[in-house]
């Protein structure tokens, strides 16, 4: 029995160390700068590639290996400094979510840069003999290098502890983690502190990437797979807590190692279930502290007023133009416009949650996907016609949202966002892996509208009518007492409770409504594409929704609509015009974030209101 458990346990510990290396950098950066750094995985990927380039040029002895690894960490730290100086420094004052958006732009850019620099083929580091060594443990061969990894985790934790507790710099970092404003008040150069913290975090990411080389290749998929793992660890451990990240790494590493033996099919879901369970019992992670209220977000919320007549006429004109599109655009642009209509509904539904609801969802694609699968499965099992499918989709998504809502409305801030991300990943894993029901990645096919609705123009009108109708209904709702109460709960939860509002209930209903609307958009999309696929629920699709809402503007009702249309058009043009569309899109995102921190519609609104708001 022991010979079964011990090697698996050690393997889990080695995995835990790798997780910790990457997660520690992320948690330190978050603790001080409050930035949810999506590009942390990209830094790990760069670490792996840089490590490959450096180590293949060095002699293959262990001392050179160590030197090469440290050199890689240093290089990645420098890249981190550059990132901080060029990009992040310009967005610290923007609302938190914009910083996330900026780092996502960096992810896109680095994907193309890495491809351009190192080529498309995965690059494994040739292992010298000493890296292939093993020791015999209870009759099992165990890799020597994995033993080294097991030791590296605690050593790095120890060094970081010394750094944080025995140096002035570390004291400042800890103080900043607790209260940023206090450190600023102490007269510390905050810019230098942020830059150095980012350098440390990036260096740790690079270290993690380089240290993965003896076991894995440098490849272009590292960024997204690492960032998801790192998010889970950091959230489970408690944002900003190094010790928490360590404990969470151990928990997840070991669970994963034994999960593989006991439930081989469930590994992906298992990790996210752990995260969900931990957050239910400890809403701030295992060792995290309650977060200070996100003050930036509150300060950024301006008064919502009814649209001025000019804007109403503009909206009406746009709608008329859109409705008449089939008479003057070609079939292809009609499908793009259909996608635009779907995106509009998708973005508007997220806006309800994020804007007035104050719940930033990183996994909004889950509802889109649940609606799509509801329509698809009904059609497959019962041959349900499209109108029923379009009805069932929002109902199904709404019901699941009500169940999930119980978990989510208890949380706040980044934890809430991360739980939505975890939930979306669970839904995605089910759709991707449960081939028997969902068809797996092949998806559910043959989901076409009935003959009467099949024409490109007819379907476009259906999509446009439903999207615009639901968007108007949601708008109506937001100006009604419920919408005010929801906004009140976001603006000040204590005040809302003190005047007798049930904050959790209000948010729950917002989640259900947003989920249902997103579910409808998912079904509309599926009938347009002729099928349902797990890619509907992917992280990039959730991020697309965020992009649309934030680029358009979170604080105006027109924002998500503008964002959805701009993004759909931009993405379509870019994808068709260049292979480097990720680079261009990333750059555009960065520019927009820097130029319009309140979104496109928000900026337009500010120009419009200039001098009018007292």
């Amino acid at each position: 029995m022991l010979d079964l458990i011990v090697p698996q346990l050690l393997t889990g510990l080695a995995g835990a160390s790798s997780l910790f290396l990457v997660a520690s950098g992320l948690t330190i950066i978050f603790g001080v700068t409050r930035i949810v750094n999506f590009s942390h995985g990209s830094l790990t990927m760069l670490g792996a590639y840089l490590g490959w380039s450096i180590l293949t040029r060095l002699p293959r002895e262990p001392e050179w290996f160590i030197l090469g690894i440290l050199l890689t960490a240093l290089c990645t730290a420098l890249i981190g400094v550059m990132l901080e100086l060029v990009v992040l420094r310009r967005v610290y004052r923007a609302p938190e979510l914009f910083q996330l958006l900026a780092t996502f732009g960096v992810v896109l850019i680095l994907q193309d840069v890495t491809l351009w620099l190192w080529g498309p083929v995965e690059l494994p580091l040739p292992r010298p003999r000493w890296l292939r060594g093993f020791v015999e443990i209870l009759g099992n061969r165990f890799p020597l290098y994995d033993l080294v990894l097991i030791a590296i985790g605690p050593v790095v934790l120890g060094l970081l502890w010394l750094l944080m507790n025995r140096t002035r710099w570390g004291t400042l970092v800890r103080a900043a983690t607790l209260d940023r404003d206090m450190v600023a008040a102490l007269g510390v150069d905050q810019r230098l502190l942020f830059t150095s913290v980012f350098a440390l975090g990036a260096g740790l990411a690079g270290l993690g990437g380089a240290l993965s080389l003896p076991n894995a290749s440098a490849n272009l998929q590292i960024d997204l797979s690492v960032i998801v793992d790192a998010f889970v660890v950091v959230v489970v451990g408690g944002l900003g807590s190094l010790a928490g990240a360590f404990v969470a790494s151990l928990l997840i590493g070991i669970l994963q190692a034994f999960g593989i033996v006991l439930l081989p099919q469930s590994t992906l879901v298992l990790v996210f279930l752990v995260m969900a369970v931990v957050l239910v019992f400890r809403p701030n992670g295992l060792l995290g502290r309650p977060q200070a209220e996100a003050r930036e977000m509150l300060a950024a919320a301006p008064v919502i007023r009814a649209a001025p007549p000019a804007l109403r006429y503009l909206g009406l004109a746009t709608l008329l133009l859109a409705a008449s599109a089939p008479f003057w655009v070609g079939d292809y642009y009609l499908t793009v416009l259909t996608d635009g209509a779907v995106a509009l509904l998708f973005a508007v539904s997220l806006h309800v949650m994020m804007g007035p609801g104050g719940m930033a969802s990183f996994g909004h694609a889950a509802w889109f996907g649940i609606g799509a699968y509801a329509a698809g499965l009904l059609a497959q099992w019962l041959g349900t016609p499209m109108p029923l499918g379009l009805l069932a989709a929002p109902i199904a998504a709404g019901i699941v949202a009500a169940l999930f809502g119980w978990f989510v409305v208890r949380l706040s801030g980044v934890y809430l966002s991360m739980l939505t991300l975890a939930f979306a990943q669970i839904v995605w894993a089910i759709s991707f892996q449960w081939v028997g029901v969902t068809g797996g990645d092949n998806g559910l096919l043959g989901l076409w509208p009935e003959a009467w609705a099949r024409g490109a123009a007819t379907y476009y009108w259906i999509a446009l009518a439903l999207s615009v109708a639901v968007a108007l209904l949601l708008r109506r709702m937001l100006y009604a007492p419920y919408g005010y109460a929801l906004r009140a709960a976001r603006d000040s939860a204590v005040r809302a409770e003190a005047i007798g509002l049930d904050v959790q209930h209000l948010r729950m209903v917002a989640l259900v409504i947003a989920g249902a609307a997103a579910g409808l958009s998912g079904a509309l999309f599926s009938y347009a594409k002729g099928g349902v696929f797990p890619t509907y629920i992917s992280i990039p699709h959730s991020v697309e929704a965020l992009l649309m809402v934030l680029l358009g503007g979170l604080q105006t009702m027109a924002g998500p609509i503008v964002g959805a249309l701009v993004y759909t058009g931009l993405a379509d043009i870019l994808v068709r015009s260049t292979d480097l569309w990720r680079l261009v899109l990333g750059a555009v995102i960065l520019l927009l974030v820097m130029a319009f921190p309140e979104g496109i519609a928000g900026a337009a609104r500010r120009l419009w209101l200039r001098g009018r708001e007292a």
Binding site: P481, Y484, S492, R495, I499, L501, A614
Partner: protein
Amino acid sequence: MSLLAVRGLRKAFGGVQAVDDVSFDLAAGEMLALIGPNGAGKSTCFNMVGGQLPPDAGSVRLEGREIAGLNPRAIAAHGIGRTFQITATFGSMTVRENVQMALIAHHGEVWRFWRPAAVRFAAEADALLAQVGLAEQAERATGVLAYGDLKRLELAVALGNAPRLLLMDEPTAGMAPAERVALMQLTRRLATERGVAVLFTEHDMDVVFDVSDRILVLNRGALIAEGDAAAIRADPAVREVYLGTGAAGGGH
């Protein structure tokens, strides 16, 4: 019969007894100040009455009904309004909408999804704003209000709930001295006119002595004195722990 009856209230954090066996009464239309040095347990006491914290032991009765341990929402429903030390208003709404929101909540009209909220209780809201002297500012964004106006807005919002008891935690913190007196005299007037009982904590002794009917003094979680302004001024125990650092002469 008193409106509010607090008996044997206790709360500990870790090993520290923050509030230790505190009892007091409060009658309708009465203004009761809760004072004490920092860390005396004022806010804890306050938050237990307001529902933000559950007490470890003791009872809080409003007109004879037990409200200890209820959540803030239920307590609001019992007719208790409050203001916060750091003003809590709805930043994305105009001044009038803030009050309308409270009125909508008070009238149980929150779960309505169709008719615009802007037309609900506008006249009532304006009347309340006029009472606190904010009528002119009704259309303005909350975010651009001066601090004193924000405090008065909070008062109007709290009144929107038609409370019988008003809890005010450091209502004048951060205000200029002249504004402080004005705000508390406004409160005094409203309390008298509407028969609302007011329980408030306050650092500014001038304000306390000026407007309160009665004063409770807390130290290290325990009630050490109770009485009107004159009695408290004269109380040696109070002077010792709180008032006259100089008068106590080399206490520690």
